[in-house]
Symmetry: D2
Subunit: 218 residues, 4 copies
């Protein structure tokens, strides 16, 4: 996948954790706006190997790390499916849960008989138990580092998304945290782009300077 | 509680199961319309002992017995509260359910640890178990008789409702069923009115004849 | 379209306004229940000329005439489409409305300029004007006769519905009203079935008597 | 209104546009987290003159400027009320709109008469016209500067909010834009706080340095 900025001739290859630093603030804000309003009519282009343009809906942009809600309906649905599959692969645990749940059903159904109304009921499914437990990604006490890792994991879950872009996120991370995050991204093999204003010593990056000159720093 | 019809001088006392038969079809349909559009501006009046008018929102009118949805949100909420109270009064059963539910929570929480995401969860409450069981009033295979009994029970549950009116319901019931329903109503001590077109031998009723003459038959 | 009752050998042809009278109350209530819970597994059968069974979702059953809500989302959508088409066929009226609406837009847009916020707006469509007018079927002051006619018109609108069944509706109608309704149905050419308990002199009907004997009365 | 950071003895007075710069990245991210999870149990405190703590719900935090949705239901409701009041203060314009709208109503109502259904309608209100116009704050083509000004205007609209905090927003603004925004804030007389990592020459700010030493720069 490649990104081509207006004013810069050469496109940049987006890999698993590509950092682009803009030394010029005007250029930086202009590029961020292009990314936010990214569409086929815009001058900034993101395209796949076969030159097909990446759709706006395939891109996730994150500026507000702590404010990002990872527990969307879609993500929770995928987590619950994961947990169900995990239990399906452990028949003995699943059977234990089903037996316990069946005993609860029996106990409550005796009580239903005492009611003056003619009450009916179905069964308690594993999914309903997971939902009743209110399972979700824990984020309340997260640091910026932990939350970014979770956003990347959620991006990995959302298989339809093709590109995750963080804007100015290095302002909230130490150098060690940034290196650790880029290592983590390289493991999951998905495209992540960091658009930044400040360069770092120990991290590879592309620099676009005040004269719109592109250089690579490794 | 009393009901006063236009054209009839004397009001009729509504008790636990009062039957009013109209021999005149025009009068019958006119009264039914007055009941449907019942409001303070109408000529038909329903009022309490102290002459305060009964509000439209306090009256339940049922014509379509089989089509009546007894499982409204309000009713289910009351049923679930009932079941919770019932379990609170049986601490040993409640403790058994809570222990089983706590074991399920432990088993699932072990699985959560294996997930790459940092997942959190709360507890499974008794109410959530009841909801997961999908407890509701069974109505699918009901006869007219069974469904009417359930509607009366639901009316009893909805303590804010002050009057339940059935329109032409005797068309769907045998004489024995009608007698049994009226006996049942007398036990629960709530006001129920039947507006009918045909008299019955063994049931007390008021008759309003073609000359708007009111008579009592016991 | 034909209906075959359990216990009766011969099926009955359903036409535009077919009346079936049950002299036996037990048989009547049983048939009504079969119609309410009508499905392919049931013993009561409704089928098309080619013996394909009519689906439950193609049948509309009405017992509670005054309580029936004719202004469903579907019906309103169809009415609004009708009105839009009607206006499209009268370009001069449509143009008048559009010009008036455009002048309103201009007047309000001047006011938007005075606001400290940078406000945007789109245009006022004909559909939005119809919705703002709150156009809907008037039913509040309806008699049973008027409401039944409206239910039949709504049934005609809902082209996917194949059969409309009224249960015990003659209790609320005079003989003249019934004849007028059956005439109206014959004009719109859609299947309507009346399931009744009392025969009428001047209306053709099928009678199913206490011995489950079927006879035709014209 | 004052803010007291953990580790810093002296509280800082929040005025109409107060800038606090943290030279230490660890301290910066810790403070931002405290602000995001701000509550009475936290060590960071924000309080009014009378030492009453400012509630979490009274604070608006904005990190993602371009992604911030200014057109919330609340804001649109306030804008529509504003426009209605504006029109009420110009009776001649309001009367013109009402007359045009009344003519539209007449034209459509003639069409309703032609429909086979008995249709009713109410009137088109000024509010319905504004809603049909889809009036909202224009943001699609906004620069960071324009969007920040709109967020501040929206904050002014939401009279219940007592404090607006921007996190790291200077990364997206030129010095002239920042000065212009701070001037604008001083005019509307509401509390706005900027939490930043880089100092600016021409803007007053508080600096918290690596030794947690607080200094004022004017």
């Amino acid at each position: 996948m490649k990104i081509r900025f207006p004013m810069i001739d050469e496109p940049i290859e987006i890999q698993n954790g590509t950092v682009i630093v803009f030394s010029n603030k005007y250029m930086f804000t202009r590029v961020v706006r292009e990314l936010y309003f990214y569409s086929e009519e815009r001058s900034l282009k993101i395209y796949e190997k076969d030159f097909r343009e990446v759709k706006n809906s395939d891109v996730m942009i994150v500026t507000d790390i702590l404010g990002y809600d990872v527990n969307s309906k879609n993500v929770l649905k995928l987590i619950y499916e994961d947990l169900e599959n995990q239990l399906n692969s452990k028949p003995e645990v699943k059977t234990m849960i089903e037996n316990l749940s069946s005993t609860i059903t029996d106990l409550i159904s005796y009580e239903l008989l005492e009611n003056e109304l003619d009450l009916e009921y179905d069964e308690i499914t594993i999914l309903e138990l997971i939902e009743s437990l209110g399972v979700k990604i824990e984020t309340l006490s997260d640091t910026f580092y932990e939350k970014i890792v979770e956003i990347i994991q959620v991006y990995k879950y959302l298989s339809r998304k093709k590109l995750l872009i963080f804007i100015n996120s290095f302002a909230f991370l130490s150098e060690n945290e940034i290196k650790s995050i880029i290592e983590y991204i390289s493991l999951i093999n998905k495209k992540v782009l960091f658009i930044e204003t400040l360069a770092l010593d120990d991290v590879n990056y592309y620099l676009i300077d005040d004269d719109f000159y592109l250089s690579r720093h490794e």
